[in-house]
Symmetry: C2
Subunit: 335 residues, 2 copies
């Protein structure tokens, strides 16, 4: 039933070497034999066995994509764009969702490596542990295949990073808000990851540059939980802590702010300005639609794959590429 290269060679009256040459587009084949072989291939419906090919070439043109959770809005987009770009370059993508537990991440990275993938893409800042010792598993893996980080950074040989300049982005909106006269700003954030800390630092920097002191209640870790965001704002509100803007590190949290405003009948953006992050589908679907920072996932992914292909064909590629975020103005801010 399943044909192999010998069947083709027999039927075409040539050697398997010639068949192989035809398949792989080797020029040293006469037009006549080439046509004959091609016609036989079509006739008997022959497809080269990828395992045998993989065995010889030691590659199956497959990239491992790891993320903590591919159903997350941001990561789902990233996975989509990565797969699309990889496929455009004739690479398959093996998806692997790890969750956030470090041991599980290690285990799956090891697993992917054992599958002989040609490279591994780690998507999202959740793969970079704050304690750099905990990142050694990534450096170790980089000894075998290129490791590409999308929106995370680890220093090391054979590790490549593409990231969005989160700090600047948050700095920039906060600065804009302050310049527009809004100075009591609450910053709600999802995580203490490297990226999370960067954003926070952008928020602080904007205050520093304007000589504003930042009340400790104005920054709050809420994880990825819009309820917690809403509750925290409610708490501040009931304590009469004044605030007239909420900047967030994720649209989810901005949704919480919106729900808070809705519950207390606050006008957005009249009484309260709200800024989301990631420019996800949520930003469009809420009412009013969220002003949100576009972290440029698509560009991030395109760049990542382009860099990877550069590595594969021996080009000189940058280890670290920054992409600048855009602020997408919608209806929760008046600047």
């Amino acid at each position: 039933m399943l044909m192999n290269i010998y069947d083709v060679s027999k039927k075409a009256g040539v050697s398997i070497a010639t068949v192989s040459r035809v398949i792989n587009g080797n020029t040293n084949v006469s037009e006549k034999t080439k046509e004959k072989v091609l016609s036989v291939i079509k006739e008997i419906g022959y497809t080269p066995n990828v395992f045998a090919r993989g065995l010889g070439l030691n590659t199956m043109k497959t990239i491992g994509i790891m993320c903590t959770d591919s159903s997350d809005l941001y990561l789902a987009n990233a996975v989509y764009y990565l797969e699309r770009e990889l496929r455009a370059n004739d690479y398959d993508s093996i998806l692997c969702c790890t969750g956030t537990d470090l041991e599980t991440k290690k285990k799956y990275l090891e697993l992917l490596l054992s599958k002989r993938v040609d490279a591994i893409i780690l998507v999202g800042s959740k793969f970079v542990e704050s304690n750099d010792n905990d990142n050694s598993y990534i450096k170790e893996a980089a000894k075998k295949v290129p490791i590409m980080l999308v929106n995370g950074h680890v220093d090391g040989e054979n590790i490549y990073t593409t990231l969005c300049n989160d700090e600047d982005a948050i700095y920039s909106v906060t600065d804009t808000l302050i310049k527009s006269g809004i100075t009591d700003i609450v910053y709600l954030y999802t995580s203490n990851s490297h990226s999370g800390l960067n954003k926070l630092s952008g928020f602080r920097k904007a205050h520093f540059m304007h000589n504003l002191l930042l009340r400790p209640e104005y920054t709050k870790l809420c994880n990825k939980d819009y309820r917690r965001a809403k509750e925290y704002l409610t708490e501040l509100y009931e304590k009469k802590v004044p605030f007239n803007a909420v900047v967030t590190s994720d649209d989810y949290l901005a949704v919480g702010a919106l729900k808070f405003a809705y519950e207390f009948g606050l006008n957005v953006p009249g009484d309260l300005s709200i800024v989301g992050y990631n420019n996800s589908i949520l930003a469009e679907c809420t009412e009013p639609a969220l002003t949100s920072i576009d972290s440029r996932v698509e560009s991030l992914c395109i760049t990542t794959v382009k860099t990877l292909m550069g590595i594969f064909n021996g080009s000189d590629v940058p280890n670290k590429t920054y992409i600048t975020a855009n602020i997408i103005k919608r209806n929760t801010t008046s600047f």
Copy 2:
């Protein structure tokens, strides 16, 4: 650098056959040699070459997952659950996003087949063409490997289906709405796919059962475009066509209805009841939160993988499994 089974056998002072037995958990190995081999494997960091193994066994324990767009809320969830379940069964997932063009779907299915995946999972009703002739490529593929459909159905040998009973679900909410006295209901839907038509027919059936006649303006195809939903409702509203509920085939469209209500200052659910579909993140994030039909993606995926594993180990498995949707009551309805 990269060790093979011969290196292990040499270092352990046994034959490669023994090493192979140890790796594959064959019982016919003395405890002593087993330990020795294991220690050598650990020492030199040996990992079996999956290509060579694949060549012999003619499988790499890999499943192809095809979907039109893995960044879609529903499909992203499905992909996540499928990957999780497959991995729990020691299978890798190759992701392949096809878009909606039939020729591209065919091409990618062929591609996946040529990669010698052990099965292919087609996720979403978008893979079932309304003209059954156009589904022959699926039947053809099923001659090589099992084809699993998640929320779609094609009749044929070696094709297995798990789906949510969409028709019943829409029938049921519509019926509930009507019983609560709301009879002017607009149904907005995304697609004329098989599943889409089923939902529509559930909507019609509810009217039929209550002896209500259904105005043609009350059903409208809007694709996956909340703006179009909003525009259409606006159009009806301005034409004074009365309606006090909107049932949709997707939360996206319910978002459009919500935006319409917001714009015209309609109270939801007082003036207008709204029902979404898929119980996506959107349903929670809007204000008021959407009553939505939970199409049970997770169950669908778990069942699909369970069925697939059943096929692999020769069990007798059902060709078609139905899963009943749940109505998740939130704040856009008063029933």
